[in-house]
Symmetry: C2
Subunit: 232 residues, 2 copies
């Protein structure tokens, strides 16, 4: 089975292709403001390098957020297009669950945290002691302190923080959690779509495959445009 997975929820986009539960190629690229120009050529390049065409892919997967609205929308649309054109199924996965898997098999809970702007973060708390992460606190969007309070109410144990939100609010996290806050070393800050492949494979095994039209972004909050519309 050949799976292509992408994550475009942050400026550091990731693309991975697995053949029979082996990662065959992976790419992490900074797409800041150039996602639409770079994503598809990068997918085409990776496929060509492996001697594959889009028709050889059995399952197309994308993170469905949370993260940059434009990034998530671009990634989901790309995967929808590829699946529609080839008649193959899709799978979606959480960008935060995927990021937490940089610490697979960790005995310590993982807090993936992305900068959501407007003084908020997209965050969750995952138990990653097994290869498939399980949520201790579900994906949400909150001011950093409100989320840190939830962590404190849940556990007095150490927590590993990862993601650009954890970098941005580093001092506040350290202030709130003290010694219990452990920060990811910088090489493990990158999102890896390879981890998304494991999530997609799990969805596939449980019959949770989607038609392209069913693969929907999970924004967790309304866009500025929607808020404006409501106001008027």
């Amino acid at each position: 089975m050949i799976i292509l997975a992408i994550d475009t929820s942050t400026p550091l986009a990731s693309i991975a292709i697995a053949v029979d539960e082996h990662i065959a190629a992976e790419s992490v690229i900074n797409t800041n403001r150039t996602l639409s120009a770079r994503l598809m050529p990068e997918i085409v390049r990776l496929l060509a390098m492996l001697g594959l065409s889009s028709g050889d892919i059995d399952l197309f997967a994308s993170s469905t957020g949370p993260g940059s609205f434009t990034g998530v929308r671009g990634g989901v649309a790309t995967i929808q297009g590829l699946a529609l054109a080839t008649g193959k199924p899709c799978a979606g996965f959480s960008s935060l669950a995927m990021l937490s898997m940089n610490f697979s098999l960790s005995a310590i809970p993982i807090c993936p945290m992305l900068d959501a702007r407007k003084s908020e973060v997209y965050a969750a708390l995952y138990n990653c002691s097994s290869p498939l992460p399980s949520p201790l606190l579900n994906d949400c969007v909150l001011p950093p302190n409100a989320f840190l309070n939830q962590i404190t109410e849940l556990t007095g144990q150490p927590v590993i923080f990862v993601g650009d939100g954890a970098l941005r609010y580093h001092d506040r996290i350290a202030q709130e959690l003290g010694d219990r806050a452990i920060f990811a070393p910088f090489p493990l800050q990158s999102p890896h779509a390879a981890n998304g492949i494991l999530l997609a494979l799990h969805a596939c095994k449980h019959g949770d495959m989607l038609k392209p039209s069913q693969l929907l972004p999970v924004y967790l909050r309304a866009s500025d445009a929607e808020l404006m519309k409501k106001k008027n």
Copy 2:
């Protein structure tokens, strides 16, 4: 500071570029028998994507093995050439230490294990509870069972196994260590040169930078050609 690091000790090669302790681009590609044709174009592509040229790199780093003789030699030679041409320093790091860092901050010791052919493995045991791994058993080449015996003598605790050697000798490891053997999920089997950047940065901070001529492969055993020469 801009660092370029590569690992070519297995057929899955990895290249990463970091700018000021942020991974800017990373690539994992299957170079089976095509390393010499693929490595330099991939480096050039990543540099171009970031708007960089080789002259912008401050430190060139390569894993120095153990691993495929041809792979390690090709990687080291490429980094030596780039450093020589630009007048910049080099740093070397262990392919096994780098691979163990896929489990940075793990409370459980990590055994990176690469297939060394001839019924042997390149293996080590690392404590990865800090971002920089520290060896519990040094990099070596041994028959799998001899190395597993060393682990058993050292610790009765669980161990995480990662690498193509761990995949090849999966059943033997499971037989010897039973429930104590934990196997890396497949997305975390890939080598990540991004982890090599952290090792190179550490070497740099401790004044362990090398001239190109000082960057030497660590094969751990004699090549067939050398053995043949000794025999005759």
